[in-house]
Symmetry: C2
Subunit: 415 residues, 2 copies
């Protein structure tokens, strides 16, 4: 057949201007791209990835057994189930409530099961809409900022300061102990706060979180608290924002099984929206979140949810603690390495991330140098916000042999 050559058809639909505001790609696919390019350049380079915080250790059998059992059951008349409740299965919601919030008088109905924290962060933004203002820790996990940009809550990116207009960046650095100086923070509707923090690895203390909750209360703000690394806490820092009195009236908590059970690929998390949290007109936030979940989501996979239930059995909990303990040992090895090399090293104690200072250097330069000379992928701190520049995040997720080998190479590079 013969086709007359023609100009490509373009629709008359305008591209969403908010999408155009986004800078380059989302951070982690960009890291993956650079890793792939490096591997093409050095096919024999023995690349080790301590970049994206991706779990590497097998899921404990007690948990995968629960999922395989559920999969098989789906082939039987008695075990088959179709659509589940969008909010998650009752039994799993109850188990999350009692395991993680047992002493905090939160109930099954306050828990919304999700396919992971990242998805729920976006669903929360869709719920809040485009007319809210927001604050984030600087540096922070990029999904908070990027989802805010997509929803139209921000202005344009300002290249000179590497910030979006209308977002309040709360600087977290060694000088302030990685907790923002709230006296300098402007009032916003929403405050995203992650503790233990990704990327700095710092966990806020009870006293700091008490101040944060009071700050949110005084300003009438809603705190979106990301506790996805809570099981990594090794001291008496709070594991949930709801340990702070009054938090139920100001906070939402987002969490995940990803880093506890190796569920980064299985996909399971949850969000807590207490009934006490109210919009300015007295309308319960939980009611709107329920509507969002019912309308834009159909529940997490029933097999993943069976895995979640297995995670929260006594054997599952013990197995998860072992997984977490393994990565904590990795963290110690990385921290000792950089400390012995004379670097200022932060995080690590309560999180699987080590935050290494390279004063006066550009994060991307350091990232590139480490990759080029050691074949180890890290994450440049500035990818998490302008205050992250001069830092590198080293993830403790890796096989022991790889972590040891990476540390050996770091020692050769910086000796």
């Amino acid at each position: 057949m013969f086709t007359v050559c023609c100009e490509a058809h373009t629709t008359k639909v305008s591209r969403n201007a908010n999408m155009a505001k986004l800078q380059a790609g989302y951070l982690f696919p960009e890291i993956a791209r650079r890793r792939s390019a490096h591997m093409l350049k050095y096919p024999d380079g023995q690349v080790i990835s301590l970049g994206i915080g991706d779990t590497t250790e097998p899921i404990p059998e007690v948990i995968t057994f629960g999922m395989a059992k559920k999969a098989h059951a789906l082939s039987t008349l008695e075990g088959y189930s179709g659509y589940g409740a969008e909010q998650g299965e009752k039994q799993l919601r109850a188990a999350i409530a009692s395991t993680y919030y047992g002493d905090l008088s939160l109930e099954e109905s306050d828990i919304f099961v999700s396919d992971g924290a990242k998805s729920d962060i976006s669903r929360l933004q869709v719920m809040f809409g485009s007319n809210v203002t927001m604050a984030v820790q600087d540096p922070s996990y990029p999904a908070y900022v990027d989802s805010s940009v997509i929803l139209g809550q921000t202005g344009q990116f300002q290249k000179d300061v590497e910030k979006y207009r209308k977002i309040e960046y709360m600087k977290c650095n060694p000088e302030n102990g990685f907790f923002p100086d709230l006296s300098t923070v402007s009032r916003t509707d929403i405050i995203f706060f992650c503790s233990p923090n990704n990327p700095t690895g710092n966990a806020a203390t009870r006293e700091q979180l008490t101040r944060l909750v009071q700050f949110a209360k005084d300003n009438g703000s809603i705190l979106v608290y990301d506790s996805a690394y809570a099981m990594y806490i090794s001291d008496d820092s709070p594991r949930s924002i709801f340990e702070i009195p009054g938090a139920k009236e100001v906070a939402i908590e987002v969490s995940s099984f990803s880093k506890y059970a190796g569920f980064t690929g299985v996909r399971l998390g949850w969000t807590v929206v207490p009934k006490e949290l109210l919009y300015s007109d007295g309308f319960p936030v939980a009611k709107d979140f329920n509507r969002i979940v019912c309308t834009t989501f159909n529940g997490a996979s029933n097999i993943s949810q069976a895995g979640g239930l297995a995670c929260l059995s006594p054997e599952g909990l013990e197995a998860m603690h072992k997984v977490v303990g393994f990565y904590q040992e990795n963290t110690n090895i990385i921290m000792e390495t950089f400390t012995s090399l004379g670097f200022s090293v932060y995080g690590g104690k309560n999180a699987p991330y080590v935050w290494v200072h390279f004063p006066g250097q550009s994060s991307w330069d350091v990232f590139s140098e480490i990759l080029e000379k050691t074949h180890v992928v890290t994450t440049p701190g500035s990818g998490f916000g302008p205050a992250g520049d001069g830092f590198i995040r080293v993830s403790a997720f890796g096989h022991r042999g790889n972590v040891l080998e990476a540390c050996k190479r770091f020692k050769q590079l910086y000796k």
Copy 2:
């Protein structure tokens, strides 16, 4: 401890005005609520649900075996994997492309694997943003309209006509053969179109879809085509919009394993965004959708994806055809029942939904009467849009015994 009584704290965050526009609950949770209330009233009522289109038959073993195998593999060093590509595993994307789009020169990279069509409809809306206008079939699956309202694309709900301002409702009824009279449809940026249709069960013909694509092209619109029931087509109606020449320049296709493999609870679907689809400024829509998927989603569960691969093996495809065939037999039983009772009956031939006409009656009244007198849950047509009033959707998803029993009761009620 003694607590001084105090007024509840309300935040100063305004409720998203778009959320407030939504009418009552999302349709299907509302049906579930009425069903539960009915069961409380009639504890011995033997309720049969032909309401929400929820699959009831066990998943074929060849498919659950694939998922159980993947679950077990996740406990091994060799079989473990963490974060997958947000767009889905390469192998699954390739299998979807070759199985469903093999002759249509769509590629692996045009396929975005999702946790289901409902989630992707919402992600598409987030991508389009609040400044687009949209059209829907009336009646239609409620997620299109509700997600549009949430994103702020619409005005208020007008109670008198049961429509949201700014949405173009394309009436589909027996008079026009359930295909809209496009000469009366105003130009919009986005056109949602579902074929085989939920709820009317009607599949558009090749000639109709050719006109629809031309209409979209002439108007510079983007067509979001929902083909989640394509495997139910029993005649030569197109199974994909991309069978229509030129569709790649105007259409996105959303689809799902839910109704083919009983994956309503397992959660797996896909969306096709061809590289040829461009915004008015020439920017590829696929690039923005990729950014959305990377930023607001972390991929479908790797176990569900293993299930998807099993679905697309030769044995899996055969097994899915059997599942579909079973529900098609149910559909025939329901159609024959209502036809024999003298009703005008639509749909059914190419879809697992039967659309029964009760001229001059309110859908909710018919719904309530059927539930009260036969303990069978159906879905009121008006729940899908004002043009659905006077109709009831009867779903063919059910065990054979239940379908036969429901039909017996229908015959008693309407004899």
